[in-house]
Amino acid sequence: MDRERLLHLRNKEDVVKLPALERVAVCGGTHGNELSGVYLVRERLKKRRKSEVMEPVTVVTVMSNPRAVHRCVRYTETDLNRCFTDAMLSFSVSDQTPFEIIRAQELNSQLGPKGSDQATDLICDLHNTTANMGLCLITYSDCDWICLHICKHLQREMATIPVRYIHYDFPPAEAYSLDSVGKHGFAMEIGPQPHGLIRSNIFTAMQEAVQLMLDWVRLFNSGSEFEGGWVDVYSLVKNIDYPRDPQTHIITAAVHPDLQDRDFCLLHPGDAMFLSFSGESVRYKGKEPLYPFFINESSYYEKGVALFLARRRRVEIPSIQSSRT
């Protein structure tokens, strides 16, 4: 039954009961050079919070890709955060298998198995981006009330950084990132920060956001009711690559100065998108105004992505309460 019909049939004053979140994972270093998460995980592990049991939730702290973290690179052989599709998690491992595929299967045993009843209730996977995105929760669902309520909570409580919700419309089997292993999950992406360095204000914002998330989980588990409302959701529509030389495939333009740093500002047909190195502007030729994000993310050059484009819509969320009470 789809979400709209579900909402329509339900009495608007009903509170949706959801199971408590008994096990939560905070993961960092999924990309070894995204340092806010690396240092946050290290701080948590130093304070012996590897596995803290504080009624009513257990929080597990994980350094996802220790080899990449040690070398301060995104990955050593293949991008770990693309290894969590159902197909790759059930891939037969041999001597030739890239490290990250093996590691993904280990993480799936530890925090999953993905899609099963034993899976971690909530995974929060920490990331940084060179794009000017503030704080974004990136998930595969636009009707996961837990994730949407956490987003609403962060938006209300965080004063120093904008908080937004991004939705990638992939079915669970094709969901490729670590956060898809949990029953609920999201990547917590904060930028802008260059890879390989740590900015104090960004670290502090991430620390605050993780603490707010854990506080929300404890409140939820203890039976508090969270009032419904609405959240603006940015749903991924497509990505745009850089203009490239047809022979060498090397990029021939940079993101236009009018678009650079303007993540989540509406891009209209005809707006400047790229500026070639020889000085010509390339304009957006789509028919529909869309919202750009991940504008000029350094690790996406090799993936053929200059920016993503999203539609924005208001999603109504119900009041929720844990079903323990």
Binding site: G196, L197, R199, F203, S298
Partner: protein
């Protein structure tokens, strides 16, 4: 004041990709080559060689493959014996020294302009050595007048020529153009544009100089690097235990005074600066974490430069 007579400048090199992930130079050098193919050599007032310094690092989009190329140009490393186990970058440095040098000889190319990026908030910084002749300082003076979209500053390294370790020290009058802030692996159009503007301004200056006009001297403000400060580190793991303090982050070239916040530990304590008032540069450069540098400290020095004039050969 007396006008100093200097030889006409005949040959220049623009180098990019000395660090393979500093993308402005990686893309500006091929753009200059494209201009040459389209409009011919006559567009420039001087014989121009364009060089992608570290092709292997560029291919992998890394700073270097085995060793930082831009630390391989000391006289000692340039004359060291090459064996099978010699790091790639030491060999490459010797190739570049043959192509553009030899360093400290009459045959060396007149000017090297080496293009770099930094994650620090440094605008356009011209970096040169204190042994450099008036040409470098005049180039800076001209760039400061002509490039107005970003702050332009002069950073000097007080190192004798034989110990000078960077690529531009191979030429008679070498400068690095450092543009930031830009993350490694990213090319920003605004930074690309002002770097292109700066390279064009260097060419314009050379044209004016070579025409024989007297180029007026004057007073310049420079920042002479004295030392560097490392991050506080965990004594066991040697990893940084703090980040640059939010009040210092992005404040390159501003005055740091005793008592000013310098670092904020990950557990929330402030570490304050305790030295003489100095100007921090290269604050939070990603590539310097492994070199044990959070930022350099420099003293501001005023320099008087004479008027100069090219003497015809």
């Amino acid at each position: 004041m007396e006008v100093v007579s200097l030889p006409v400048l005949h040959r220049m090199a623009v180098c990019g990709g000395t660090h393979g992930d500093e993308m402005t130079g990686v893309f500006l050098v091929p753009e200059l080559e494209r201009q040459r193919r389209e409009k011919g050599d006559g567009i420039w007032p001087i014989a121009l060689t364009t060089v992608l310094s570290n092709p292997r690092a560029i291919k992998e989009c890394k700073r270097y493959v085995e060793k930082d190329l831009n630390r391989c140009f000391t006289s000692a490393l340039l004359s060291s014996s090459i064996t099978d186990s010699t790091p790639y970058e030491i060999q490459r440095a010797q190739e570049l020294n043959s192509l553009l040098g030899p360093k400290d000889t009459e045959d060396a190319i007149d000017i090297i302009c080496d293009l770099h990026n930094t994650t620090a908030n440094m605008g356009l910084t011209v970096i040169s050595y204190s042994f450099s002749n008036w040409v470098c300082l005049h180039l800076f003076k001209y760039l400061k007048e002509k490039v107005t979209t970003v702050p332009v500053r002069l950073m000097l390294l007080d190192i004798p020529i034989c110990d000078a370790y960077s690529l531009e020290s191979v030429s008679k009058y070498g400068i690095s153009l450092e543009a930031g802030p830009q993350p490694q692996g990213v090319v920003r159009a605004d930074i690309f544009n002002f770097m292109k503007e700066a390279v064009n301004a260097v060419m314009d200056w050379i044209k004016i100089f070579n025409s024989g006009q007297v180029i007026e001297g004057g007073e310049l403000e420079s920042y002479m690097v004295e030392k560097s400060i490392d991050y506080p580190r965990d004594p066991e793991t040697q990893r940084p235990s703090a980040a640059v303090h939010p009040q210092l982050q992005d404040q390159d070239f501003c005055l740091l005074k005793p008592g000013d916040p310098m670092f904020l530990t990950f557990s929330g304590e402030t570490v304050k600066y305790e030295g003489e008032p100095r100007h921090p540069i290269f604050i939070n450069e990603a590539a310097y974490y492994e070199k044990g540098i959070a930022f350099h400290l420099a003293q501001k020095k005023n320099i008087t430069i004479p008027s100069i004039q090219a003497k015809k050969d």
